[in-house]
């Protein structure tokens, strides 16, 4: 008979399943808390390998003018892996453009889901808060499930939730910067106040930063460049999957308080006198 606990990994998985790591987003239940962007990969083959390794159930795609010369399709990859395709409004600078792009995406992908991006300039790619709120209002009224990429601004996040967005997706740092989470305290405030899922979107560079997002209480992490532009994207995808799981597990487990001084983990009582 196998000794109980001989396989700590299996025990951990059981504990995780018992506590439930799935989450609700847009009225659907998802098993993976990692969402992967499809941009920046060297090839479709690398993309497919990394996507599969990430264990994700949602992948973002963009809309662009048709190019008759392009071969293969991100949609074929998503279909092969059974991954949900989440269109975005990447590259839109105004609410008007974002709304029109979202409507095109709804037609192209037969989905009401949209990752809403309305950026302010091409140097920072920070969201334009005014245009973002405007677009979100229009799209929510139009029946979309709106997932807005937003600043790490708790007030803006609250406004987006009040409008009826299905989640709020604050940035950790600028898109593609790999700078991690520049303002973890704001992310904590957003988590604390939000009743919709909080997805850390943008800025993740490596696994510890994805874990930190989950430890701060985020419901999920959306990343692209960290995997796509890693030297070994498939290996990084595995690392990110584990990081998100580890961070979520640590959050659920409840970390110890930080203290300035040591607290012995071994009792002094019973210490032998060795002369």
């Amino acid at each position: 008979m196998a000794e109980a606990g001989a396989d700590p990994d299996a025990r951990g998985r059981e504990a995780e399943q018992a506590s439930g790591s799935s989450f609700e987003l847009g009225g659907r239940t998802w098993g993976s808390r990692l969402i992967v962007g499809s941009g920046g990969f060297r090839s479709l083959e690398v993309f497919e390998s990394a996507l599969e390794a990430s264990g994700t159930e949602i992948v973002t795609v963009a809309l662009r003018r048709i190019d008759p010369l392009s071969e293969g399709s991100v949609l074929d990859v998503a279909e092969r892996l059974g991954v949900f395709v989440l269109p975005n409004t990447a590259g839109c600078y105004t609410a008007r453009d974002a709304v029109r792009t979202a409507r095109l995406a709804r037609e192209a992908f037969e989905t009401e889901w949209i990752k809403l991006e309305v950026i302010g300039d091409d140097r920072t790619l920070f969201p334009d808060a005014v245009e973002l709120v405007d677009a979100a209002e229009t799209l929510v009224d139009d029946g979309f499930t709106v997932l807005p990429y937003t600043n790490d601004d708790p007030i803006l996040a609250r406004r987006l939730e009040e409008i009826g967005c299905a989640a709020v997706m604050p940035l950790g740092s600028p898109i593609g910067s790999g700078m991690g989470i520049r303002n973890p305290y704001n992310i904590e405030i957003i988590v604390e106040q939000s009743r919709v899922p909080v997805i850390l979107d943008a800025g993740i560079g490596t696994a510890s930063e994805a874990a930190l997002a989950m430890e701060l209480g985020c419901d999920g992490v959306l990343l692209a460049s960290a995997v796509a532009r890693a030297q070994d994207p498939t290996r990084m995808a595995v690392a990110m999957r584990r990081a998100v799981e580890a961070g979520y597990g640590a959050r659920r487990a409840g970390r110890i308080a930080r203290k300035l001084h040591a607290e012995p983990s071994t009792p002094d009582a019973g210490m032998p006198d060795l002369g």
């Binding site: 795609v61 963009a62 809309l63 003018r65 399709s73």
Partner: protein
């Protein structure tokens, strides 16, 4: 007539449909993940054949790419 097709001038027969513009853009009608806007407004897939274009209109034919 002359339309703007994905940002470039394109000569199409007078009264050409949206479906003809899609073909001129190099796309297959049954291609998945395809969408069309005329003057910024979406034309649903079911109306491509029946929607005629007018001279000078701007037509955008888009599809999914890796991004975001």
């Amino acid at each position: 007539m002359l339309i703007q097709l994905n940002g470039r001038p394109a000569e199409l027969p007078d009264g050409a449909s949206v479906a003809e513009a899609i073909a001129a853009a190099g796309a297959e009608h049954d291609q998945r993940g395809l969408a069309v806007a005329v003057e910024g407004e979406v034309v649903p897939r079911g109306e491509w054949e029946a929607t005629d274009l007018r001279d000078g209109q701007a037509v955008e034919v888009v599809r999914a790419i890796q991004g975001g």
